[in-house]
Amino acid sequence: MKGFYTRMGDGKRVIMTKEQIINDIHAGIADAADMAGVPDLKADEVDLLFEIISDKNRIVGVEPGKEVVLTYDIGQLDFTGDNGNSGNGIDVGRRESALLHERALGGDTFELAHADYSIKPVKPIISNEMQAMEEIQSEIIIPFFYGAMPNSGLYYAPDGPYGNPADLMREFKIEEAMQAAEFTAEHLARDIEYVSTRMVAAGADGFNFDTTASAGDADFVGTLKGVEMLRKACPKTYIMVGMAGESVMGIHGSIEYKGEVVAGKYPHQQVKLAEKAGANVFGPVVNTNTSKSLAWNMSRSVTFVKECIRVAKIPCHVNMGMGVGGIPMWETAPNDAVTRCNKAMVEIAKVDGV
């Protein structure tokens, strides 16, 4: 029995036969197609997926000429954060980190970020952030944004003024929970406008909304409204909207953006809402299932994202990292899996950037 070295979604090394890999590729595609109502991948794309997974080299890459834009999120935190926070535990300043990403790591864009990486905590220190932006902009050449997560969880008790839907729903106070989510969406939009317009005024080339909808559908609506406000105030700024998962969680369940219920939207539907709000770039995200193989996760992710790219009118930079884009949920994502998933996203889903 000939086997191929591959991985599970939790990073565990496994040997799988060609038949097992092909079966998992088909199962992953079928799952995405079924969940999101998107087309299956074609036979030649299945063959290419198998070819990528079964490649004998540990690291794979795209053919010359097929390279795409490499954007980084999370700012300096990929150095300074702990392993669980996608970081490496290296204490380095924000300026040094920005220049390292530009001059050593090949980043085509980078961003400034607050240690908490959320919109809300930036408000009281906005002057510091503006100052840092201005200083780094004087040295850096690549587009340099400000990045933060909308993270509307910080607006709910115990961290914020509104009742926590998780607590309220547990007590079956469903109406109150929905109302809290609606208030939060409005509050978040106002805070996004406050923070983002000031950062653009300080010289930011754009704003990256990272992990949008992590707290559910109201988080997504609040972000889209905030994007609208930023677009109105700064018509020429560059706005990226990156998501938290392939499907928008319905914590409210019925909240709408421009007449559409946003809960349950998949990447090919999410991107249309981001376009309506005024985003320049969309970042689709597909979460990894740790119990399934790399073949299953990679093919599933590519299936979701391919349709997103097909319908998008704006460029899409897919999120590729620990636990997303088919890459295993592992503190230090294994390079064999990282490069395979990236190659598949570029060559099959035809993403504009990663």
Binding site: K12, A166, I174, M249, G250, G264, S291
Partner: protein, 211 residues
């Protein structure tokens, strides 16, 4: 009776409390036994769980359906007792997001689904001290569900299992673990009994172990 069963099931899937109450009332008037009404609603709730897992229904909808079932049980419970058909709870479960971690959406969904599946759920919320899990187990819970959403807090699941061993309680309790960074391999490593990738998977495994 077949129509009543179908109506009850569909009313639960439609998740509106007044609709569920009306279907229950109609079934009672038609002489349907309380146990059968509950079973039909249970079928509907199972379907709600499937639709939830598939992203077609969301947490408020699941809870609204559960609320409808809860209000129906206020009427059906005493009837069950009278008829001597009262089914016992499957098991008492202490649930919580471990200390240092405030992410509890997934855990709350899991608690609700376990409740709907007939478990007696003691949900301690988030940032739950290790001792609180132990105290609930000492007070009679035979299952313990711990959620952790961060790599820095998932180790608390292992700590609680170790305390259970030290206090001679480990064999008396079924330990369930879950949360984004938690995997089957990690669950095996720390000696948990059940790993759930999703709330539905956890509930299915909990039901299977409690048959």
């Amino acid at each position: 009776m077949v129509d009543n069963k179908k109506e009850l099931r569909e009313a639960v899937i439609a998740y509106k409390v007044p609709g569920i109450q009306a279907a229950v009332e109609k079934a009672r008037k038609a002489g349907m036994p309380a146990g059968d009404i509950i079973d039909a609603m249970g079928d509907g709730m199972t379907e709600v769980g499937i639709l939830f897992e598939r992203g077609k229904l969301f947490l408020p909808h699941v809870l609204s359906a559960a609320q409808g079932m809860k209000s129906a049980m206020e009427v059906l419970g005493p009837e069950l007792l009278k008829s001597g058909d009262a089914s016992t709870k499957r098991a008492s479960v202490v649930m919580g997001t471990v200390e240092g971690d405030v992410h509890d959406i997934g855990k709350s969904i899991c608690s609700t689904m376990l409740q709907c599946a007939g478990f007696d759920v003691h949900d301690l919320g988030r940032d739950v001290p290790k001792a609180s899990f132990i105290n609930e187990i000492k007070a009679g819970c035979t299952m313990c569900g711990m959620s952790a959403l961060m790599t820095t807090t998932m180790t608390v699941q292992r700590d609680v299992i170790e305390i259970l061993k030290q206090e001679g309680l480990r064999k008396k309790v079924i330990v369930m673990v879950g949360g984004a960074p938690v995997t089957q391999a990690y669950a095996d490593k720390i000696g948990a009994d059940i790993f759930g990738e999703t709330a539905s998977e956890t509930t299915t495994k909990a039901k299977a172990i409690n048959k």
